[in-house]
């Protein structure tokens, strides 16, 4: 699998620092699960975090802190599972961070129809940004729309095409305010995406305007 559309350095750095809303963390973690290129870039930013930790001052811990910490590791030590390296059963479409949000796998997603065969499932995250899974039948177009804020779309199955290019599994499209696009699902397979937005999208044209409340974004 070759991922062609990646996260920006901005997003990777903010993720490494821990500055992003939960929904954005989710899509970043899901992309990284599918992309070694961005995983390596993230770990480089974490290396910078380590260097910052090294250079920052130190503040003495309280005198009892070592005793407390040793107490903690002693009282719980027997309970630790030392080998949790065996991977849990995996969903072939949803990487682990995403599977955690839908109780396991694709078959547990609670889809709601939003018209034209398109279905969505809003995921439960903090309210600063919203995350939802989209199911777009092969060959179907999402109405032409612009964005009030940032929209991130990560392909999990199938592919879609829009004015910005062709997006297959693992590819992420980062659409900002100035982007106007009409994503069309590839004809070969139904398309499943994770979409994250930090502000309501603005649809233009009558049908899309009706569609917006259903999309609930």
């Amino acid at each position: 699998m070759t991922v062609k559309h990646h996260l920006t350095d901005d997003l990777l750095m903010a993720y490494s620092v821990g500055d992003l809303p939960e929904a954005v963390n989710l899509i970043v973690a899901t992309h990284i699960s599918l992309c070694d290129e961005c995983r390596a870039a993230l770990e480089a930013y974490e290396a910078l975090g380590g260097a910052v930790l090294d250079t920052c001052d130190s503040v003495a811990l309280s005198e009892t802190s070592l005793t407390s910490v040793l107490d903690m590791i002693h009282t719980q030590d027997n309970a630790i599972v030392v080998n949790d390296r065996s991977a849990p059963a995996k969903d072939s479409v949803l990487p682990t961070p995403l599977a955690d949000y839908v109780d396991g796998g694709l078959e547990n997603v609670k889809w709601r129809s939003v018209g034209m065969g398109v279905k969505q499932a809003v995921l439960n995250t903090s309210s600063e940004a919203s995350a939802r899974l989209l199911y777009i039948p092969a060959g179907t177009a999402i109405p032409d729309h612009g964005h009030k804020g940032m929209e991130l779309t990560l392909v999990l199955q199938g592919a879609f095409q829009d004015e910005d290019g062709y997006f297959g599994r693992g590819d992420i499209e980062i659409a900002s305010e100035d982007v106007h696009h009409t994503p069309v699902a590839d004809i070969s397979e139904d398309c499943i995406c994770l979409a994250v937005t930090d502000a309501p999208l603005k649809f233009k044209g009558l049908v899309p305007r009706i569609a917006q409340p259903f999309l609930g974004i």
Binding site: D9, D10, M13, A14, V17, G18, D19, E22, N25, L26, V28, A29, T30, I32, S33, D36, R39, A40, A41, L42, E43, A44, Y45, E46, A47, L48, G49, G50, A51, V52, L53, D54, T55, C56, D57, S58, V59, A60, L61, S62, S65, L66, S68, V69, L70, M72, I73, Q76, I80, V82, N83, D84, R85, A87, P95, T96, P97, L98, D100, S126
Partner: protein, 181 residues
């Protein structure tokens, strides 16, 4: 060369904690990193008492998760930074943090010694580059990591050698994936 051997030293201590559950090594890790983690958490906006409590929990996590430490992908400071950062998100944002899927671990998960050494050298180079930055630029980066500022393209602006470390990690990931086939 002092700092480079220091990184290697902390790798040894962490590996002792990981493989032998060596408590004396853990105490040395605690005494070195505990005060730094506390300072870091205070800079992210915690008061001294909360930072103290969280720093203790971070070090307990170091003990509990030592079996996940991989010296070919992170220096000890880097690994402990990620634990402290997650603690910060947990406490200040009251959110769980979605983490990338763990790479599948095969029977040959033992990292290549060349990867381990290469990463140590590049971590040392990065640390030196950070210390050598003009005061203002270093403050900018520190602010980003303490959460005071989310600044784009800091790395490019300051010319830090992030690219080398990224290629190094990429190489280690490729090798890991390859060993699974």
């Amino acid at each position: 060369n002092g700092t480079q051997s220091q990184i290697a030293e902390w790798v040894d201590e962490l590996v002792r904690v990981r493989d032998q559950r060596d408590e004396a090594a853990f105490i040395r890790v605690f005494q070195h990193f505990g005060p730094r983690v506390k300072a870091f958490l205070m800079r992210t906006g915690m008061d001294a008492a909360l930072a103290e409590e969280c720093a203790q929990e971070v070090l307990v996590t170091v003990w509990n998760k030592a079996h996940l430490y991989d010296a070919s992908r992170a220096s000890p400071s880097t690994w402990i930074f990620t634990i402290a950062r997650n603690k910060k998100i947990d406490v200040l944002r009251k959110q769980k943090r979605p983490e990338p899927e763990d790479l599948p671990w095969g029977p040959e998960a033992e990292p290549d010694q060349a990867d381990v050494l290469g990463l140590q050298q590049e971590s040392e180079q990065l640390g030196r580059a950070l210390r050598d930055l003009p005061e203002k630029q270093r403050e900018l980066i520190e602010k980003a990591y303490f959460g005071d500022l989310s600044h784009s393209e800091i790395a490019e602006q300051t010319g830090l050698p992030l690219g080398t470390i990224k290629s190094r990690i990429r190489l280690a990931l490729d090798r890991l994936r390859h060993s699974l086939k």
